[in-house]
């Protein structure tokens, strides 16, 4: 049985990763779990300059989910290189750097700064953060723009390049096709859905910036549906994310057509949960006679009602 996943010129040793913004830079979780059991760590979004993020309250719980409006607070690329890379470099798991910027040049400059570092396995381009004024989702809701920015980034790296898609669009498959045309090696599906919670006693929104991104088990059916749709619209791999808490949730994404998955919000609830999912997937593959991750894709369609 083979758990490995090929993305562009890279190979992940197993399909289970932890999502950007839910795992810091890895170190914080080393005390409670074995990081080497992960296929990949997708880092907190990295920008050229440090970002202090949005005003508080930044988070609020929702039914089986949460809204966040962190605003891509991060240490900036220089501090990431000096303070965070050394720890990540010592792990037996792929470091995928989530890249964000306010201009196309910003995105390219982050990649240029990191591309010579051997232990940076690849990039996940954040074109879908709903919580910032400029960049992020502005780029991610127009297929032509996605294609253009992906083309630009393809020009500065040969490493695996993933584009993280926003679900806050009419036709996510069209956005995925833009990424594929631009030369992406994979798309990540999905980022958070824009939501709002109102405090009726105070008659104001709970989140300081009014809206936030909805994540957690509440969005899992949407993530699975979009993964199903996108994986049939493009020929590059889809990395499925949204509400994964355990092996069964991850299997839904693989059966929907994903080649890899990410555990996100659940890292806040059970910080060690992600370490057992790859073994759980292997167990399921053994029981169902599935030889490799690629073989999941055809299983759903062979059922009449799939």
């Amino acid at each position: 049985m083979d758990l490995s996943v090929r993305i562009g010129k890279g190979v992940l040793k197993n399909p289970v990763g932890v999502a950007s913004g839910t795992f810091g830079y890895g170190q914080e979780f080393a005390q409670v779990m074995d990081l080497d059991k992960l296929g990949a760590i997708y880092t907190k979004a990295i920008s050229m300059e440090p970002r202090r993020g949005n005003p508080t309250p930044r988070i609020v719980e929702t039914p089986s989910g949460m809204l966040n409006s962190i605003g891509l607070a991060n240490v900036g690329v220089e501090k990431f290189v000096t303070d965070k890379i050394p720890f990540l470099a010592g792990l037996d798991t792929a470091t995928v750097v989530n890249v964000v910027g306010t201009t196309m040049d910003d995105y390219c400059n982050v990649i240029k700064r990191l591309d010579d570092i051997d232990t940076v396995w690849g990039y996940e381009i954040n074109l879908s953060c709903p919580n910032v004024e400029a960049g992020g989702i502005q780029f991610g809701t127009d297929a032509a723009m996605i294609e253009e920015i992906t083309t630009r980034m393809r020009g500065v790296t040969e490493k695996p390049l993933m584009v993280k898609l926003s679900p806050n669009v009419t036709d996510i498959a069209e956005m995925a096709r833009g990424a594929e045309r631009g030369g992406a090696d994979a798309v990540t599906c999905i980022n958070t859905l824009v939501g709002m919670v109102i405090d009726t006693a105070r008659q104001q929104t709970v989140i300081a910036r009014k809206t936030g991104g909805l994540s957690g088990p509440a969005i899992r059916p949407i993530g699975v549906r979009m993964t199903h749709e996108v994986s049939r619209a493009i020929s590059i791999p889809v990395v499925g994310i949204g509400g994964i808490t355990n092996t069964d949730d991850a299997l839904q994404y693989l059966l929907a057509g994903a080649k890899a998955v990410q555990v996100g919000t659940w890292n806040f609830v059970e910080p060690a949960a992600s370490q057992d999912i790859a073994a759980g997937i292997a167990d399921y593959m053994a029981r169902h006679g599935i030889a490799r991750i690629d073989d999941f894709a055809a299983l759903l369609d062979r059922r009449k009602d799939g």
Partner: protein, 257 residues
């Protein structure tokens, strides 16, 4: 720091407003220090989803149990109030820093508002046991909400009520102002309670040139420093995380608006 499933050993009302829960906490989880907190998961389902952060109100190393004082406010605390001895909860901790940022002070005035009483009494007992002078000032809305006085047995404690129905009439800062100046001379203030109380205590400390350590509360998801939800602003403009840079801060470094 550990993530464990532990048994509740006691869970009882200590006032019309407060409950105290006790639960197993083995020494090898790490010894909780006053001011530190843990993240509690009360359910095995996805609602409520997030853990909730609570400050320790005590630790007994012989029985290996930790305690926490809480108030029923929402779904999580309602569920916790129904948890009986022998039933389990998930706990992640100890998390964050502790009172006594510059080492153990010689003279302390520990100020509590509402449910902040738990960690303040934990700190006061710890400081008294080490031989420092400590005085507790505890504020409540009204007499009926004052818990069993056995809670602060052996500690010099001033009770204040907003409505004057018992003890000092006024809030905790009014009480501090009423003390002879010599009582506060060179004292370190520790404060845990609602933000307006912390802000007022900070202003008082500034007026008197005292150092004040505050325990800050903010909406929190992970407790591990990664979600960056629970930030507060420092006076120098930096955003710092309550969970890992705090929850105890020298009030002088924070931006009070």
């Amino acid at each position: 720091m550990q993530d464990q499933t532990v048994r509740v050993t006691a869970n009882r009302a200590i006032s019309p407003d407060f409950l105290e829960v006790e639960f197993e906490w083995r020494r090898d989880f790490g010894l909780p220090a006053p001011g530190q907190f843990f993240e509690l998961r009360i359910t095995e389902t996805t609602a409520p989803l997030l853990r909730r952060p609570y400050a320790f109100s005590g630790y007994d190393p012989d029985r290996q149990v930790a305690a926490m004082v809480y108030q029923v406010r929402g779904q999580s605390t309602q569920m916790l109030a129904r948890r009986e001895p022998g039933q389990t909860v998930r706990v992640l901790g100890p998390l964050g820093n502790a009172f006594g940022l510059d080492g153990r002070p010689e003279k302390v005035v520990a100020v509590a508002g509402g449910v902040g009483l738990g960690p303040i009494l934990f700190a006061a007992r710890d400081i008294a046991a080490a031989g420092s002078a400590v005085r507790v000032v505890a504020g409540f809305r009204t007499r009926d909400l004052i818990p069993d006085r056995g809670l602060w047995h052996g500690l010099e404690t001033a009770v204040c009520t907003d409505d004057g129905s018992e003890g000092f009439a006024g809030n905790v800062v009014d009480h501090l102002r009423s003390l002879p100046a010599a009582d506060l001379d060179g004292a370190r203030l520790l404060a845990c309670g609602p933000m307006p109380m912390l802000a007022a205590t900070h202003r008082f400390a500034q007026e008197r040139g005292l150092v004040c350590e505050v325990s800050v509360e903010e909406m929190m998801a992970c407790g591990l420093g990664v979600c960056v939800g629970c930030v507060v602003e420092r006076a120098d403009g930096e955003m710092v995380r309550v969970c890992t840079d705090g929850p105890i801060f020298d009030s002088g470094v924070l931006a009070w608006t």
